[in-house]
């Protein structure tokens, strides 16, 4: 978590002090790339949950893609809130650090939920999907 806080402060200093257009463009591209990748991974998650044949494969899509896309979109939000602030005051930095805290909690909590669900499915009577077309 200390790394998060340091990263936020570093980004805040860079975005607020260096007004060179190239630097600002790079920061914008960073935010947009993070947001776009997050949306792409969430799209992949949705398609995976819809299209995969059985529970285990669906949870594979949901567990990984969901956590990663959440982390990426929240990162974009945090960086954008720092960059768009006119003056860098206490409230803005605190909000950005709080968003990074959410990332940490999701990073712990979401895989735990996925693990618990996988175990519940594994202990019950769900048959894993097998690709019979290639086997025969």
């Amino acid at each position: 978590m200390a790394i998060n806080v340091l990263a936020v402060i570093l980004f805040a200093i860079i975005s607020q002090t260096i007004h060179h257009p190239t630097v600002q463009l790079i920061l914008n591209i960073l935010i947009m790339a993070s947001l776009g990748l997050g949306l792409f991974f969430f799209f992949a998650t949705s398609v995976g949950v819809l299209r995969f044949p059985d529970f285990f494969t669906r949870l594979h899509a949901a567990g990984k893609g969901d956590t990663l896309s959440t982390i990426l979109i929240l990162l974009a939000c945090s960086l954008f809130s720092l960059k768009s602030a006119k003056t860098l005051d206490q409230t803005t930095i605190l909000a950005a650090i709080k968003i990074l805290l959410i990332i940490n909690f999701i990073f712990i909590g979401s895989p735990t939920a996925t693990h618990a669900l996988i175990e519940a499915g594994y202990n019950s009577e769900i048959d894993p999907w097998e690709n019979n077309a290639t086997r025969n």
Binding site: S46, L94, I106, T114, S124
Partner: protein, 107 residues
Amino acid sequence: MINIFTWASILLIVLMLMLVYRIIVGPTVIDRIVAVNVIGTKSIVLIVLMGIIFDRLAMFVDIAIGYGLLNFIASLAAAKYFKKHHRIDSKNITATEHTAKGATNGH
């Protein structure tokens, strides 16, 4: 650039609408739990996005922290439920319980 965040949140909601298909159709309960879990995580993201759109991020981020901390408790409870009740599929419940009853009556 706010506009982009608005479009992003609309895209998120549309993708959540796609997940609702899995909630409606999902052959077993646990498929539905997976879809609801994804919707729950995405509503955290939507709250933060709304905070940026409304320019009240410091206000909304507290709600998002609350969700981020508590989101996995419900999934954990639902998963632990299946430790005792091993049957996932609700359609087979009546059939198996009837056969079990018949077996005990027969003896």
